[in-house]
Amino acid sequence: MMKDNRMDLHTEPFVLNMGPSHPATHGTVRFLLKMDGERILHCETEIGYLHRGFEKHCENGTWTQVFPYTDRLNYNSAIQNNVAYALAAEKLLGITGKMPERCTAIRTIMCELARLADHYTGLGASMLELGALTAFLYFVEARELVWDLIESVCGARLTSNYVRIGGLSTDLPEGFAAHTKQVFATNRVFWTEFDKLLTKNRIFLDRMRDTGALSREDSIAFGFTGPLLRAAGVEYDVRKAHPYLMYDQVDFDVPVGFAGDNFDRYLVRMEEINQSIRIVEQVLAKLPSGPINVDDPAVRNPSKEAVKSRMESMIFHFKNTIEGIQIPAGEVYVPTEGSNGEVGFYLVSVGGGKPWKCRVRPPCFALTQAVGEMVKGGFLSDIIPTFDMVNLIGGECDR
């Protein structure tokens, strides 16, 4: 009887616009939701609200002038983008084997510190969305301390502009190892408190368990990489599969989930924080001394003593700045493991000092396209943990 009545009523799905400015869509993304009460029938994702023309910008300047722009891609872990671009350019130049050891060690340390900052931000913001405001602020405090470390090295917390083709801009400050030790001691306490507040809390578990799940096959089909792929059970980490920098010389585990739901993604990220701290401590323990730049004036600006005393150095300094580093023609793609997934730069050079094409593979582009699939059939409230665990960074997805 009730069913007959129901079929006679004119009903239509409830359209809800989770627009670009909504507290939960961090990174300006628009979800157009067709809902049946609280259940989502269809979710259409719209990105591009933060498109700034990164690739076109890069074609206007020299190879070195791209670095500040790469900072603004994944603005949570800026140094990782710097490093990814530098690795690609160095491969195109052919000097990957000649990089000094201290340089690769410091790059490894800074990459892992950036990964820490990104995971703290991602997990913290997720907790903010879920309502645990205190947990968010604990991780924000932890992130502040990591940013202090990064600031002491390169002069800015977020827009680091630290790596150069052929080396780094400056060396580590004095007392860096002691400062790091202090920061990690405090951060471990924050991690424990965050864990105790949430990981076994049934309210939290009910929100995250079995929500937004995506199977192994679907994850691979969508092109997932990074923590979300590992949460689905696929054992793939670029640092282990195609090692770069110093990752083959340090001991670290890679956490892998098995259910592919939000809780696994959360656990994977939490464990990655611990492993990053482990990597940094190992590298700091055996930090090699020596130069930080490659000794090739055509690639990396000579030292100022040389510039002021020798004519060739002055010429190279001027040519590198005005015309840019001359990278031979060719194309290259070097994958690295960013905090969201595989970040890679596809560079095309036609032999001059300016890039011909500088394309970045944004990890969260592949992740965002699957959000509609992940939330279909779920509740409106499930979009929140799912989207938070995707950790879409607008700067990266929209470039």
């Binding site: 300047g61 070195t64 002038q65 670095f67 500040p68 722009y69 205190t134 405090e141 502040e144 202090d148 600031e151 002491s152 090295v153 390169c154 002069g155 800015a156 502009n161 080396g167 801009s169 400056t170 400050p173 408190e193 105790k196 507040l197 949430l198 076994k200 809390n201 049934r202 309210i203 368990r209 054992e235 282990k240 599969a241 083959d248 001991d251 670290f252 585990d253 890679v254 956490p255 892998v256 989930g257 098995f258 696994d264 656990l267 464990e271 130069p291 930080i292 730049n293 990396r300 000579p302 030292s303 100022k304 040389a306 510039v307 002021k308 002055m314 300094h317 001027f318 700045t321 005005i322």
Partner: protein, 191 residues
């Protein structure tokens, strides 16, 4: 390359301890309550004795307290005024070319004794991205990133186009930054 892929520590179904809401709720509330009482004691002691207790509160009370700035900090770019009162800049134009958003524009001129100097030097503070590439490019240590980060905003964009006079700072005031870049950035041991 063999790697260690480790399964996360996750029970397949919820354990009984987790199922009972109350225990974990109490544990969580105890953690935040501990933070509360520790901070309360810290704040009270600080208020009563007048000096800050061991820093439990993370907040820096800006603008009465300024955050400590590391020596590598990249603040506002400024021109260095040498000991003789003239700018050290020789209008070579390297900073103009090196700047990614092209915020510097220089018109050079020659003095009677043959040295070059910038007739006009305009740095658009609203466009500058504080990247420090100009400081790296300059062969004369004439433009450095000072440690200024306060009072950089204006209500009118045209007020942010700094000319040479607004940018010149005497060398003594920038001694710390100049020493840093000599020690850390341009030093021979970097290569």
């Amino acid at each position: 390359m063999a790697g260690i892929y480790r399964k996360v520590n996750r029970p397949v179904t919820m354990t009984l301890w987790e199922r009972l809401y109350v225990m974990e709720v109490v544990r969580g509330v105890l953690i935040t309550a501990r933070h509360f009482f520790r901070n309360l004691v810290g704040v009270t002691i600080a208020y009563v004795t007048g000096k800050p207790s061991e820093r439990r509160i993370m907040t820096i009370y800006y603008p009465e307290e300024l955050p400590p700035v590391p020596e590598a900090y990249r603040g506002r770019p400024v021109l260095v005024r040498g000991a003789d009162g003239k700018e050290k800049c020789v209008a070579c134009g390297l900073c103009e070319v090196a700047c990614p958003p092209k915020c510097i524009s220089i018109v050079g001129a020659m003095r009677e004794d043959g040295t070059r100097y910038p007739d006009t030097y305009t740095l658009n503070g609203a466009v500058c991205i504080f990247c420090g590439l100009c400081e790296e490019a300059c062969p004369e240590e004439a433009i450095v990133m000072s440690y200024d980060y306060q009072n950089l905003c204006e209500y009118d964009r045209s007020l942010m186009r700094y000319d040479k006079e607004a940018l010149l700072i005497p060398e003594e005031k920038l001694a710390k930054r100049l020493e840093y870049i000599r020690r850390r950035m341009y030093n021979k041991c970097n290569y």
